[in-house]
Amino acid sequence: MTVKLDIQLKRGGFHLDAQLSAPAGVTVIFGPSGSGKTTLLRAFAGLEPIDQGHVSIEGADMSGVPPHHRAVGYVFQEPRLLPHLTVMANLKFAQKMGRVGAGQSFNEVTDLLALRPLLERYPAALSGGEAQRVALGRALLSAPKCLCLDEPLSALDHGLKQRIFPYLERLRDQTKIPILYVTHDAAEMARLADHIVLMHAGRSVLSGPATEVLADPAAVPFLGVRAAGTVVAGRVMSPDPVTGLAVMGFDGGQLILPELAQPEGRKIRIRIAAQDIVLASEMPKGLSALNILEGVISDLHQGQGPGVMVQFKVGRTLFLARVTQYSAAQMGLVLGQRVFAIVKASAFDPAGIGT
């Protein structure tokens, strides 16, 4: 299943001109507020009329089709549950409207999102996180061919977000439909994205598989310096024999993750921010840092600011490090040069560790 969008529209002074193609899995649409992410999603769902372009789901043209015939499940920033209906009736609303089709069964969805204890309640009696989970379940039960999630976690506090992430990860791994996920939170993107589309001023400027886009120095201006950083996918290994600390193995090496609390053998992904890596041209000695990786510089990118983005490869895994122009000149960094990367332990935010 694939969805394709090519949308041009004007709203007042705002001009949206965006293209994207999303296969099954999570495609994160990332950009600052006002970059047109939500408008793009709404236009895709038929909630916003478009001036030009087309929308297709599985090759079928959906451009002129009204929203109730598009089979696009939509989760808004706020839950938008129908207040006069119970959770159960909200979940079964789409079915009552005649939306039936292949998709997850009622039991599967209520289990996936742990909704069973909530079924008899009215939306007014739900907490923010519960209501958003119901909204997610309701969208899943509308027999969608594609799912749109518009910053579904933005209204929730940090703790609640952490509790909903595992549900979203399970959803990503269990459904076979494309999920378009809008966010402006880099950690959220790194944790969930299979693919990434970067939006800037109404345009889709860069897109591709998450690991590639995040490792692309050209993407840094659109991500912002703080959000720049790569995602490393790997598996939990047996604990380090010397220190007894948890270890994650990836294609090219190992990382010691003190705060990792996942069972051995589990597939995990972590985000390492570019600003949390220190580079050295020689093997450093006498350091407190646990992780020193040896790599080869594969790209250098000088931005408008005082920094330089250095992309380097450890085995087949790409990393990004941010150093100052001064340091880059002092170290004489060039393409193909061998470098040692010191990864600070603080780089591993336990909240950023996904499965």
């Binding site: 009204p66 109730h68 939509y74 938008r80 129908l82 006069h84 789409a94 409207m97 005649g98 509308s142």
Partner: protein, 228 residues
């Protein structure tokens, strides 16, 4: 308790008033809901004109409304003869009294329903459309249930208004005991004759009781809507 016992004429006026008010509200409710929906949700050329037209009976002298009804639905009016051919005579009949009451109550009913519809969050309707609901289904399953207390409040206020309608009714359908004589016109007739203070008092008592009850009920419904 003899002062409480109603004469046949008074009893007829009371039941007729209730019948007229009931019929006028039931018949005008669907139209009022449609007009309120159009006024609340659609923007079109002539929106202001429609709004003014709906509210006209509220500000026009009732006798003028009654006269206009006579021009339209009287036996020599524009629609009178064709309706009579269909077996429906409105002038000087109880059906006509219901029409006059409905026209007079219409602005109040529309107002209440429009407020209720405007209080329904369009975001919920949008969410329902992504769940497969066509615009008709969105109205039936989302908009209508959410604005129901307001619609009921409108019906109750309209009922109270129809119950007390006098000017347009007496102009359009006159004051015929047993056919078009409602509580209001009965009180007017009784006041023309000396020595009917007890009867007048009884009718006024009923008037106050019914109107007050209706207002209380609409207040309760309106409060329930706010709590949503």
């Amino acid at each position: 308790m003899s002062w409480l016992s109603l004469s046949p004429v008074e009893f007829q006026a009371l039941t007729l008033s209730l019948w007229v008010a009931m019929v006028s509200v039931v018949v005008s409710l669907p139209f009022a809901t449609a007009v309120a929906y159009i006024l609340a949700r659609r923007r079109f050329w002539g929106h202001g004109l429609l709004n003014a037209l709906v509210h006209l009976p509220l500000v026009l002298p009732p006798v003028v409304t009654g006269y206009l009804l006579l021009m339209a639905f009287g036996r020599r009016g524009i629609f009178g003869p064709p309706l009579e051919a269909l077996g429906l005579q409105l002038a000087f009949t109880s059906a006509g009294a219901a029409l006059a009451a409905a026209v007079m109550a219409f602005p109040l009913i529309v107002r209440a329903i429009r407020l209720a519809l405007e209080a329904v969050d369009p975001k919920l309707e949008e969410a329902a459309s992504t769940l497969g609901a066509s615009s008709v289904k969105v109205f039936v399953f989302v908009t209508l249930p959410l604005s129901l207390p307001g619609i009921l409040a409108g019906a109750v206020v309209g009922f109270a208004k129809a119950l007390g309608e006098f000017g347009a009714t007496i102009t359009f359908v006159s004051n015929i005991p047993g056919e078009t004589q409602t509580i209001a016109s009965a009180i007017y007739a009784l006041l023309q004759v000396p020595g009917q203070e007890a009867a007048v008092g009884r009718m006024i008592g009923f008037s106050i009781l019914l109107s007050f009850g209706a207002l209380l009920l609409s207040e309760v419904l309106a409060r329930r809507m706010v709590r949503r």
